[in-house]
Symmetry: C2
Amino acid sequence: MIFMAGSSHEFQSVVWEAASFDSAAMIEAELINVLEDSQGAVRDICLHILNAGGKRVRPLLVWHSGLMFGPDSHDLKRTAVAVELIHMASLIHDDIIDGSELRRNRPTVQKQWGNHRAVLGGDYLFAKAFGVLADSGLIKPLGIMVRAIQDMCQGEILQDGDQFNSRVSLERYYDRITKKTAVLLEASCKAGALVSGATELQAASIGLFGLNLGLAFQIIDDILDLCGDESKMGKPKYTDLIKGNLTLPIILLMQEPQYQGWLMEKFNEENLNQRVLAKIEAAVKDSGVAERAFAVGVSHLEEARHRLKSFVESPARQFLENLTYMLQARAN
Amino acid sequence: MIFMAGSSHEFQSVVWEAASFDSAAMIEAELINVLEDSQGAVRDICLHILNAGGKRVRPLLVWHSGLMFGPDSHDLKRTAVAVELIHMASLIHDDIIDGSELRRNRPTVQKQWGNHRAVLGGDYLFAKAFGVLADSGLIKPLGIMVRAIQDMCQGEILQDGDQFNSRVSLERYYDRITKKTAVLLEASCKAGALVSGATELQAASIGLFGLNLGLAFQIIDDILDLCGDESKMGKPKYTDLIKGNLTLPIILLMQEPQYQGWLMEKFNEENLNQRVLAKIEAAVKDSGVAERAFAVGVSHLEEARHRLKSFVESPARQFLENLTYMLQARAN
């Protein structure tokens, strides 16, 4: 990749591993624990998605946002686990929506078990998440999660309606990635903080950290989908463009007079072949649009770090700050 | 239809209309109110499923179960609405699972908007339901609903696994219809009662009323799917058999020596044509199995009425009792 980042990916991974080891292991154990009572095919689906791994970013956001305002607690752990269950449910349903066959190099739930069971498996995990919160009387996090899910649904449908719409504006793109990705990260930080006794104002502020982290995450993901190294990604490239989802690099490229007409023409044909896709990737790189899009992502990471500055230093704050640098290094 | 019932369908409809008019109108207004803030395609989907109508049995169960133990209240109304939202969400997802194209003579959500939006529309309504409960701090009903949804998911997947399995036992059928249908009716009654101050024991008892009502409802629905009058049903006949879901009349018919071998043979072929389906319907009627299955349904209605007897007489109790007679008359 062409991007420069603050530090190497390897170094950041080590930081991540060290800082998150204890809490990640604890979250993993609790996830297994709450899914213990599922049965039959539901159980198989839950274990499939659980064992697919993932960095557990959302529960770690809950956990460390919480630790910034109070000691660790059972309620904080339950909130962290609930958020990951919601994320897992939304992954299963997203894969139905996108018709994806692979996730992290393994078959998706709907590929392996069919649409039917994928719908139900997702519903089960959503219910489980709310059950975890309800059983602990965690009504505030519950309200926050509910609103995040509603936004996520609206965001996915928004994306659906925008396909191959070459007039998609930057504003509309932001609305889409906010709802699709950033709101759940915002919700994770807010919920963790509130459970640990933060004021509404503090929770809103740490929520903005999560929101900006989420925007950066999605922007970088969108760049990688176009310009990334397929062998490292565990999923095929160009999925956004093939489905007609116009992301930041494409929107920026459309603003370049020399590419505008050509792109419009290709999108009107709708069926983009691999040769055209590779040409678009080359244009995004050659025009400098890739770097500009990456800079936009980084600006959100800077905003996220700025939000952290208003809180006293602590290992938890340091963990969240490290997270922003890790993400910045992801494009390397 | 061949069945006798306690009173004519027309009479019972009048009773229903009179007893439920005020509360049904109130529930309808509140449903519209809570869906007010949805946008775009999500809004269209919500309104489509809302306007498809339905008898609003579940919210009316919440409402009248609640009124048996206390005055009407905002919390009771919110609980009633949340249950209907859960029911609406599950209808949307069920229609994806079943690949149904019609519901109540109108196109299903996935027929009109596609699988993608149907998944998201259902998720949105689930989240909305939990939001309604969380916003009012109704943590007990929330826990009850969560467990009902988990059971519903497990039940649907159970059904999925049993298709064309001619060894499906009565026990397994009961497990399936309990989870698929009866648990949400049980949950409705329990939640309404608890919100209005019933003891856990009282709530469990009125819950058993709902459970038996639900079992009877599903058994009668299963009989009608096989022996009903298509023009009255608003959906095609034989859907269970075509999908390989063996229901009570079929399980009873399998126990008749003269039909057993013939049925096994047909199920092994899996692809049942209309001629075979009509022959199975005739066999169910001629053998007396239809009446026996109906009698099983009625026995659950009697058990439901028995549960009501332990509570003092009230208009709410009368409403719930009327409901059992209405259902009994449904087969007429």
